[in-house]
Symmetry: C2
Subunit: 391 residues, 2 copies
């Protein structure tokens, strides 16, 4: 066979970790596109579409996307190397594992980093942000939209409002690796400066693409920096002409883009931005699926890691094991039922909880029944685990 | 359909640029593997195999491979950020466009770079290497095995011999993006310290994987560096435990690997290292195909950019247009015949030549007839182009 209509992905365990996620047959088939020249006009048109659709997902008209071969982590390097100059101050809002890592990255490139840390399961409040911003001048503030380690959701709109009020020149950088296309992000309306993400979570494609979107204000800061950019592969000076060339329908060369993944990303972006479900409906369906799963899990006796519904992500769920149970009681049993979940990641409670991802088709395409499958597998697992303890 | 036996890639133009290249149906089907967890044991086994087979391709027992989501260019950053400390001296042997870029990357991370430049179409002689190494102490020497811009082939064995004789502590870094699996590289026997490459050329997979292999000596230099590593995403401190974990059959997490591409890379490496054609036969077939194409092109009146057969690559061919013809006479006509070649890239002669890639299956699988297709398309194109000039 050699056509889209005939291609079905192999049967496999249901992948419900917080990324990579389940993707559609169309996306996988696009990933098996014959190899093409990265300098061809056909490919440039596809790449250009990806740039435009990336803007659409974030409701931005004027921001500059960078689509670069790499993991989401490379977005941190891009921010650290292009927007921060050695010795400059950065404020990191900490709501889990990924803030520590982002801070580590920033320091690698010479930033002076202060962190405001939320309690485990919570987020930094607007009042704390205001206090920190009044105490020192920060070039950049970073906030993790959804911390993949805790499933905690930050209120980006509220954070941005505080920054614009208290320290309008501070750039607002949102680590949205685990939120883009799963949580609403109004880039222009909220006045965000950078969104960084990756292809394998809400965006519904295989991993391998670092996606960074920078506001006009961020690009001006980049353009007027005084010192040399401190990364080569992540240098916007190298990549900006390439992105502009592809968007104009021509091709440019700095380093070879992941051509197949760009086709896959195009397929997924097309489903997200031009499919039968609008973006607004998508965010609603995502919330509904999340709420249904969370309520069912709580009814079974699982407790969520986020301290309240308001700070709980809609694309993933982090659950403490009920008293007397641990990872080895739950995760392998789910695996036997062909449900792949993720273990704990946050050092403070690593062995005490697990994580379920429910982004993309698992939440949006009700016909798949993924949420129901997860709920009934959880129920069975819990019953089996409890029974084994009594035996 | 959902099985390997049924999958055939879509019909498409023959891609004979110097990477990405034509790949097999098996490789593309592997790239359409259902998404899996990067932390699963199944995936760890596949990743571990890729590490081992990468060693096999380079005839090394003890070197440490790094397989990281990114383009080949990321390998330059890894060398610059892990092996060189700010202010240290690096000698770059220049045989084309890519030496300038590598030098630019090294300088980004603070290296002091000297270049020894070969004439266009030639390579730096061992005598020149010796002279340069005697004039100054260099921490690192870099040499481009095959410069993709010129199709010029450096004699890595000869360069390594000079380095080991004159300046044994200098690390030998080979930019082998356009040579691994197309040109013989005896990593251990020749005493190389770093080979850096990418997935989309001789290695026969889609682009998106940076592959760097470091000798024990290089790893010792990295371990004993005095200053902080100057990249985060490219830091071996972050990646080494991950590579060791995957090789041991477990999983580690720093940044999400490109899981589908790892399956595709595994499929291609299996064909290269465990297929019906041995590695030794592969290099011979590669030479035969190259020689046949080059002789045919010369008989038609095309002149090769490399100054002699000895310095001409076996996986690609760079040809000057015959007098009176230019890119617009040749490249679009080849495209109409469904043959995709690449234009010039080296600034000095950019409009005067073009490039043909013939790595991987195009050279090795004679049944495809790719080399014959290229030769006859070139013949027809030349006749048409000349006729159009007379008209």
């Amino acid at each position: 066979m050699s056509s889209q209509n005939q291609f079905r992905q192999q049967s496999h365990k249901l992948l419900v970790i917080p990324g990579p996620i389940e993707v559609t047959d169309e996306v996988l088939y696009a990933n098996a596109h014959p190899l093409v020249s990265h300098m061809s006009l056909d490919f440039a048109a596809v790449f250009g579409d990806c740039i435009r659709m990336t803007r659409d997902v974030l409701y931005t008209k004027s921001a500059q996307p960078f689509l670069i071969s790499g993991s989401g982590t490379l977005g941190w390097d891009q921010v650290s190397a292009n927007l921060v100059e050695p010795g400059e101050n950065v404020l990191v809002l900490h709501s889990g594992y990924f803030a520590d890592s982002f801070a580590d990255c920033l320091e690698t490139y010479g930033a002076k980093v202060d962190q405001v840390k939320a309690d485990l399961g919570s987020v930094v409040s607007p009042a704390e942000v205001e206090r920190a911003l009044k105490s020192k001048k920060y070039k950049v503030l970073t906030v993790t939209h959804v911390d993949t380690s805790t499933g905690v959701l930050s209120d980006i709109k509220a954070v941005a409002e505080v920054v614009r009020k208290v320290s309008p020149e501070t750039l607002i950088v949102v680590d949205a690796v685990c939120s883009v296309a799963s949580e609403e992000i109004r880039f222009d309306d909220w006045g965000i400066d950078v969104v960084l993400t990756a292809s394998q979570k809400g965006l519904g494609a295989p991993p391998g693409l670092s996606i960074v979107v920078a506001s006009e204000r961020a690009m001006k800061v980049y353009e007027t920096r005084k010192t040399r950019i401190t990364s080569y592969y992540g240098s916007w000076k190298k990549w900006l002409p390439i992105m502009k060339a592809y968007e104009a329908g021509t091709a440019g060369y700095f380093a070879t883009p992941p051509v197949n993944l760009i086709y896959a990303f195009h397929a997924s972006l097309s489903q997200i931005t031009k499919g039968s479900v609008t973006l607004e409906e998508r965010f609603k369906l995502q919330k509904d699926a999340s709420s249904r799963l969370k309520k069912a899990a709580e009814a079974m006796g699982f407790k969520g890691l986020p301290l309240s519904t308001e700070v709980a992500a809609n694309g993933m769920t982090a659950l403490y094991f009920p008293d007397g149970l641990e990872a080895s009681d739950v995760v392998p049993r789910l695996l036997k039922k062909d449900i792949v979940v993720a273990g704990g990641l946050h050092a403070a409670v690593k062995t005490k909880y697990f994580r379920i991802g429910h982004m993309g088709v698992s939440a949006i395409d009700a016909q798949r029944g993924d949420i129901d499958k997860i709920i009934s597998a959880l129920k069975e697992t819990l019953a089996e685990a409890k029974a084994s303890k009594k035996a």
